[in-house]
Amino acid sequence: MARQQTEVRDLQEGSYVMIDDTPCQINAYSTAKPGKHGSAKARVEGRGVFDERKRNFTQPVDAKVWVPIVDRKQGQVINIDGSDMQVMDLETYETFPMRIPDGMDPSPDDEIEYLEYEDQRKVV
């Protein structure tokens, strides 16, 4: 599993966390004070790395959460086929299809950067 465990208190804006079993990037992190009893709570708001959906949770800061290990990789466009492109990983030389994101106009031999988590990929 490309994930590691940490505590909510160690999260911060910009980092990744699994919310509802989906890798998300944190865009808001705030803490509530604990008082004499009970532990401080943190509210974490994130956006799905691959599906862009907003997700959130509020948990004690010492609760355990999973952080996905999202790889940032280099690739090269091999071929264009309609709304898809064939991309080769420049480290492993593995090739795979990717949907061309809106607003991108790739050509063969273009080098791209993409995020990868398990079998999900996204051009950045």
Binding site: S30, A32, R43, N56
Partner: protein
């Protein structure tokens, strides 16, 4: 737990959040006990509501407990706003239970209404109180940073500057002696909309389809002498947030509040306003209850909260 609010958070339609903030109260403190006090004095209420035929425990209400309050009100409001935004994103209606009136700001910011309606003895239009802009006495003014207009129902006191601010076009004050008549008209307009198009409250009817003002005199039970120029379209045409400050009631009925103000509303008048407006609301709170009475303020607050949920749920089905 608030009686009958046992729904799971993940499937709830209404999420109660205790917000026991008690930092800017200027006379009688004790709003830190408000949420629990309301829960306690709601224990005797019947689950069944004969107005709507609904049972409270069937309405998907979840009690999320209290968000422990600390003394940085701005930070607290920010955190509470985030929690209420999460509720909104889950398709539910978050209901803060105060706590001083300042907590309404979190609800207003989270639900982003067009109109802020408030049952309140005070105008709360100050820019600051004792040098503090984040005060219970500034809430309506701060709500107007989000909403386009405010309607303060039952207001009967304010500083000279507040009354001057209240005279501007974006503020309407309904004084206590006009509330009954205003509410009658509110009910007429509300029923007309609901009869015309029984839309969910979260999807208000467009006023362009309704022609709200043209034939209002044709209704026998409408009070045509009152607020002839009142813009009902602004109430029913957008998102409405209703805030119940319990001090809107006469202190004889709700003495357990921070700043009592005589010559106030009858509980029945407040009940009518809440019932009439609830189907059109996208946000609601009840605030300013403390523990300095025998439970009158808390009982009234709890009852109005339940009335809101019944009526909102009945019209949303």
């Amino acid at each position: 737990m608030f009686p009958g609010a046992a729904a799971d958070r993940n499937v709830a339609d209404y999420v109660l959040l205790g917000a026991p903030l008690d930092v800017s109260t200027t006379f009688q403190p004790g709003t830190r006990f408000g949420p629990d006090r309301i829960r306690q004095h709601a224990r005797t209420f019947d689950d069944f509501d004969h107005h709507t035929g609904l049972r409270f425990s069937d309405l998907g209400v979840h009690d999320g407990g209290d968000l422990h309050a600390w003394d940085d009100a701005a930070e607290y409001i920010g955190f509470l706003e985030g929690m209420l935004s999460d509720v909104r994103d889950d398709g539910a209606l978050g209901i803060p239970i105060g706590g001083e009136h300042t907590v309404s700001l979190a609800g207003v910011r989270a639900f982003d209404p067009d109109v802020f309606v408030c049952l309140d003895a005070h105008l709360d239009l100050r820019s600051e109180y004792d040098g503090n802009p984040m005060s219970h006495a500034t809430i309506t003014r701060q709500a107007l940073d989000v909403a386009d207009r405010a309607i303060i129902v039952g207001a009967r006191t304010g500083s000279e500057d507040e009354w001057e601010r209240a005279s501007e076009n974006d503020v309407t004050v309904i004084p206590p002696d006009e509330v009954t008549a205003w509410t009658s008209e509110l009910q007429v307009q509300s029923n007309r909309i609901l009869d015309q198009k029984p839309a969910p409250a979260s999807n208000p009817v467009s006023t362009s389809d309704l022609d709200l003002d043209s034939d209002s005199d044709s209704d026998s039970d409408s009070n045509s002498d009152l607020n002839l120029n009142f813009d009902w379209g602004s109430v029913f045409g957008g998102d409405v947030y209703l805030s119940v400050d319990i001090d809107g009631a006469d202190p004889a009925f709700a003495p357990g509040t921070g700043t009592m103000e005589p010559f106030g509303l009858m509980p029945r008048e407040m009940h009518d306003v809440v019932r009439a407006l609830a189907p059109h609301c996208t946000g609601f709170d009840v605030v300013e209850v403390n523990d300095r009475d025998d439970g009158q303020a808390a009982a009234l607050a709890g009852k109005l909260l339940r009335a809101f949920v019944y009526e909102h749920a009945a019209r949303s089905e």
